[in-house]
């Protein structure tokens, strides 16, 4: 079996607040795993537990079938959500210090830092204090801090937030390279289009539980397909009584319908043609964003009914 990072039935509570509720998932070596969920769903807590910075109340975190101990912990590269660097310490010095804390020799640490500041485009700022850098550059330095010690596992909390498009491309490229080199890469993000494009597998977290997990294709297959119909002569509400569909959105540009499982899309087309000309009829799989909205809102209603 290939190596994988397993988060196994992990629970964590802060006082009366349950942050994680037996969450289970795994990140395989060589894949990019995206963790998505609303604010407060438990993504950050899950990452901190995976990292060993937080201790779980129950459950286990394993790497290569062994519980993670202090030695493995040092082999993890971590980028916290609220960025963490000494503001009044020079970039180069700080990166070398952090790499050495992770167990590198001074020479190896310096060489790795040289390599990463070059790759991430902050080589010119290595003698500046971190606080003098722009937020985007601070984030690049933060990524360098996660990567400099040549980690076996990468855990990144919101690595893309606040980056310009060029920096997003650099970051994406680096994550892909790391995964190709056999590192399991786990990151959280609210930019679902990015997650859909970049991730091999995605997990959706809700109220401390993993509610859906799989490849992007698998997840999109789980959702209802959509029909987009543009029939300019159709009266408002024309689709409301049709069998097998639910109206998602109706506007001048057209009608978006959710297609129920097993429903006949050709019957919908015939119904549309009866209203007049049809300029567009498209069947599409839901995007991750649609799916996410669907899962989160459906479960919320369920939660409220209880």
């Amino acid at each position: 079996m290939e190596r994988q990072l397993e988060i196994d039935r992990v629970s964590k509570r802060y006082g009366d607040v349950v942050a994680l509720h037996g969450i289970t998932f795994e990140v395989r070596a060589g894949e990019i795993f995206g963790l998505v969920g609303s604010n407060g769903a438990g993504k950050t807590t899950a990452m901190r537990v995976a990292l060993g910075v937080l201790e779980a109340d129950a459950g286990a975190v394993r790497w290569d079938r062994r519980p993670i101990g202090p030695e493995t912990r040092r082999r993890i590269g971590y980028m916290p959500e609220e960025r963490g660097l000494y503001p009044r310490m020079r970039v180069g010095e700080q990166l070398v210090y952090l790499a050495r804390l992770h167990g590198m020799t001074p020479a190896a640490a310096r060489a790795a830092v040289d390599r990463w500041v070059e790759r991430l485009g902050v080589a010119g700022r290595r003698d500046d204090d971190v606080i003098k850098l722009s937020l985007g550059n601070q984030q690049r330095v933060q990524l360098a801090a996660a990567l400099a010690h040549d980690p076996e596992i990468l855990v990144l909390d919101e690595p893309f937030s606040g980056l310009d498009p060029v920096a997003v491309d650099v970051m994406s490229g680096v994550l892909r390279d790391q995964a190709d080199a056999g590192v399991p890469v786990m990151f959280s993000s609210h930019q679902l289009d990015l997650v859909q494009r970049l991730c091999d597998r995605v997990g959706i977290v809700r109220q401390g539980r993993m509610v859906a997990v799989g490849t992007v294709d698998e997840l999109r297959d789980q959702g209802q397909d959509e029909l987009i119909v543009r029939a300019p002569a159709a009266p408002p509400g024309w689709a409301a009584q049709l069998p097998g569909v639910t109206v998602v959105e109706e506007s001048g540009a057209g009608t978006r319908l959710a297609l129920h499982d097993g429903a006949d899309d050709q019957a919908i087309l015939r119904a549309a043609l009866e209203t007049g000309p049809v300029h567009e009829f498209t069947r599409a799989r839901p995007s991750l964003t649609d799916l996410f909205r669907h899962i989160v809102s459906a479960k919320d209603e369920e939660g409220e009914r209880k």
Partner: protein
């Protein structure tokens, strides 16, 4: 990497950061300047001994050696100048000479502007008496030199039934200096630990650090690094202060007692710092913003303040105060009180031993408590963590 290597790496960062910090450099410099300033001001105010210039007219010249040796024997600084009588009188009038000796060895006359100072009067009185004695000894057929030797060899031996109630002026000066210095050093360096802990929480760098090292390693590394710099700082300040005081003549360096006071100061700084810095680290780990540091550290600071205030207000007047003696054996107050009592020479050996033992026992206990609170609180950012929660949470 071993735990030792990790702690050393963390301490190393603290040392280089602290030495480069402007606040630290300026604070150290200001304290040194204040001490030098006090020494110079004391000297200018005439509190310290200064030279008295005595002119000696040709007739009185044979007495020059006797004046110099007598003056040094009773610790009066006298400079002698051979002058002609009329020139000497003019210089006395101008204030350049404190006194002028005229006449012959048998009948000394002292010319002064208005009056003769007590110190100088004693010296000249002794010289005159000695000359008279020598003449009588010679007249009786004796040898003045042998008599002088016998006289100077005679001394009384003193047996004190109780230690002196009053400290000497110099002991008092060193005692107050010790008190101020150890208080300042503990407050400054303790606050530096507290601010360092909160800085790591505020900047969230602690999350990254704790991915690589254990909480206790981070805390100990910080305490050791800042402690090493603090020790050098205290030693430098103490030496600079003593050097200034000796150079200006405010203190006569009785090398043993001054060196003893400095060694005790350093020992007690180390013990006090170990105890208080751990307490500072623990309470600081409860808060997440620099603005909250002051409020969080106030209880610890108050313990230092109480010790310091008791020390400077009671000890100079009553070095033997039983209240202070008892307090100085309680580990919380020992670091601020015991070094002052030691400098005043008012602490019996057994009390010093009790007080040392108490602090040495308390430090590992504090380490355990502080490490536990720090570990539980340092990752909780946002609102202030209650001490009870930090203690209980596992």
């Amino acid at each position: 990497m071993t735990s030792f290597g990790t702690v050393r790496l963390i301490a190393g960062r603290e040392i280089s950061t602290r030495l480069r910090s402007k606040v630290f450099r300026i604070a150290t410099l200001v304290i040194i300047l204040i001490l030098v300033g006090i020494a110079v001001a004391t000297k200018l105010a005439g509190g310290g001994p200064s030279y008295q210039d005595v002119g000696i007219a040709p007739g009185a010249a044979p007495l020059t050696a006797a004046i110099a040796s007598t003056a040094s024997a009773i610790h009066v600084d006298v400079r002698t100048h051979a002058v002609r009588e009329d020139a000497g009188r003019q210089q006395v009038r101008d204030g350049k000479l404190d006194a002028l000796l005229v006449g012959a060895p048998g009948s000394i006359q002292v010319v002064v502007k208005t009056s003769l100072g007590d110190d100088l009067r004693s010296v000249l009185q002794l010289v005159a008496q000695r000359a008279a004695l020598d003449r009588q000894v010679t007249a009786l057929g004796g040898d003045p030199a042998r008599v002088a030797t016998a006289v100077s060899a005679a001394a009384v031996s003193v047996t004190a039934l109780e230690p002196p109630k009053k400290a000497t002026g110099e002991q008092l000066a060193i005692g107050i200096l010790t008190s101020v210095l150890i208080y300042l050093a503990l407050v400054l360096n303790g606050q530096a630990v507290a601010q360092g802990v909160v800085e790591e929480k505020t900047s969230r760098v602690v999350e990254i650090l704790l991915g690589a090292v254990r909480p206790w390693q981070l805390m100990i590394g910080k305490v050791l690094g800042l402690g090493a710099v603090g020790l050098i700082q205290v030693a430098a300040i103490a030496l600079a202060g003593v050097a200034a005081a000796v150079a200006t003549g405010v203190l006569h360096l009785h090398s043993l007692s001054t060196a003893g006071a400095i060694v005790w100061l350093l020992v007690w700084f180390l013990l006090g710092y170990a105890a208080f810095s751990l307490a500072f680290a623990a309470v600081a780990s409860l808060v997440s913003r620099q603005e909250e540091v002051a409020a969080a550290t106030t209880p610890v600071l108050m313990l230092l303040v109480v010790g310091y205030v008791v020390g400077v207000s009671i000890l100079p007047g009553h070095p033997g105060s039983p209240l202070v003696a008892v307090l100085s054996m309680i580990p919380i107050f020992a670091p601020t009180l015991m070094p002052v009592r030691l400098a005043l020479g008012a602490a019996p050996a057994w009390q010093v031993a009790v007080s040392l033992a108490g602090v040495v026992v308390v430090i590992p206990l504090l380490l355990w408590v502080a490490a536990r609170i720090y570990r539980n609180a340092v990752l909780r950012s946002g609102a202030r963590v209650r001490l009870r929660d930090a203690w209980r949470a596992s």
